[in-house]
Amino acid sequence: MSLRETGAVTGVGETEYLRGTDRTPLSLQLEASLRAIDDAGLKPTDIDGVIPYGLGAVAEDFITNFGIPDLRFSATTPMGGASAVAAIQCAIAAVHAGICNHVLLAIGRTGYSGGRIGTRVQQMPQFRVVGEFEMPSGAIAPAQLYAVMARRHMELYGTTSRQFAEIAVSTRNNAMLNPNATMRRPITVEDHQNSRMISDPLRLLDCSLESDGGAAVVISAAERARDMRQQPVLVMGVAEGHPDSPSVITQRPDITTLGLAKAAPRAFAMAGVTPDDIDVAEIYDCFTYNVLCQIEDAGFCKKGEGGPFVESGAIRLNGKLPINTHGGLLSQAHMAGMNHVVELVRQLRGQAAAQVAGATIGLVTGYGDMGDGSIAIMRRA
């Protein structure tokens, strides 16, 4: 049994993305949800499954606010930034099993106006081991934890900061075309090289944004999707994967390999396609380095070749593998990757702000705080 093309994304929605709001994560999440439900041509009461991201809302909030008469499925996929894409697998399993018809995946957050990352991670259960053994020494935020991975990659493979810069610049170029991106001023490689050092080798322009907003998608069974408002986007393959020692990066035998390396071959096998078939990819970009590493782990190039791959211009909008066409977490907004799912669906419908001509098959990844990976491969039906 396989989930291949048994589920579809039938609705997507986003709020305006901001850096500064007095609204609550719940309010932002519900607004994005209403937009996604409307995009699908459904009424809020049609939703009978929900997977909240786990910030600011629980299943009960959706029942209360939408008057859902009979919610039949609720779950959480607590994998940090891998949650949104991992939730796609969870939702499709639920609709395919006949548990429910339409599952809402939603996130709302006040990452800019509310608690910032250095404070937030100390309260997350997946940071328990880091909290006891590494935070007392001053290893506190993801930027520091990933800097160690990036440094090792640089030492082993000759990867350079200028190659990280290419990811930042390319992503910003895409954001400049997107009216709902928060960072739309052009940047150059030199701007990146001159940006302040956060935790060497990661500079300010290697880091993603802290954002306020909400994003949501609706997942429905494939056979039901055919009769809905939008052209369905079918999920061809989907998987999650966990790195060896997901609780602490530093304990991993190979810190340059992520959970995605386990998930990607399974997703491609399920989908029946190869990396060469992918027209557009939305890659979780909490930091530039993580994009480079995931390009390798997804199979677009060999381990260690991510630097030259991005340097070739391949990930630009007109390159052979356009990446983060919406501006990503680096320049659009940090919606924990739900905005990446929204963008992939828009690309495959032909509705994106920075549209890749003829995009038919695409890929989206999620990346959790300690390297958990998730991936979905989709096609226009």
Partner: protein, 136 residues
Amino acid sequence: MAEYAKLVPSPTTDTQPYWDGLNEGRLRLQRCADCGKVRHYPRPVCDACFSMNVAWMDASGNGRVHSWTVTHHAFHPGFKPDLPYILVTVDLDEGVRMQAQLRRLDARELRIGLPVRVAFEPATEGLTLPVFVPTE
């Protein structure tokens, strides 16, 4: 004495011997009491034989640099006076890895495989933290 402003660990019964060891100037590692596999950071079950029988051993304290970062931004106010500081991941001779701050070396001299040894720094009442220094 000013109040200690940095993050402090909350040891459990599984991990307390590690912290007690640091206070005594010893780097203690868990070793499976049945199959002998050394593991770190401390946890309840051996992933090789699934035994929950734990022994503790004194590590040599010697290892080699695996990777590093130099932090220039204070993600917690308590660490602001330390900026910039070097965090190293170190492969210990016992086959496990740990992370701590590095002392007595310029970051430009760091490389994978550089020999280091553990040292002990009293942090606050009842808390000693491990640090690494270059092996002479």
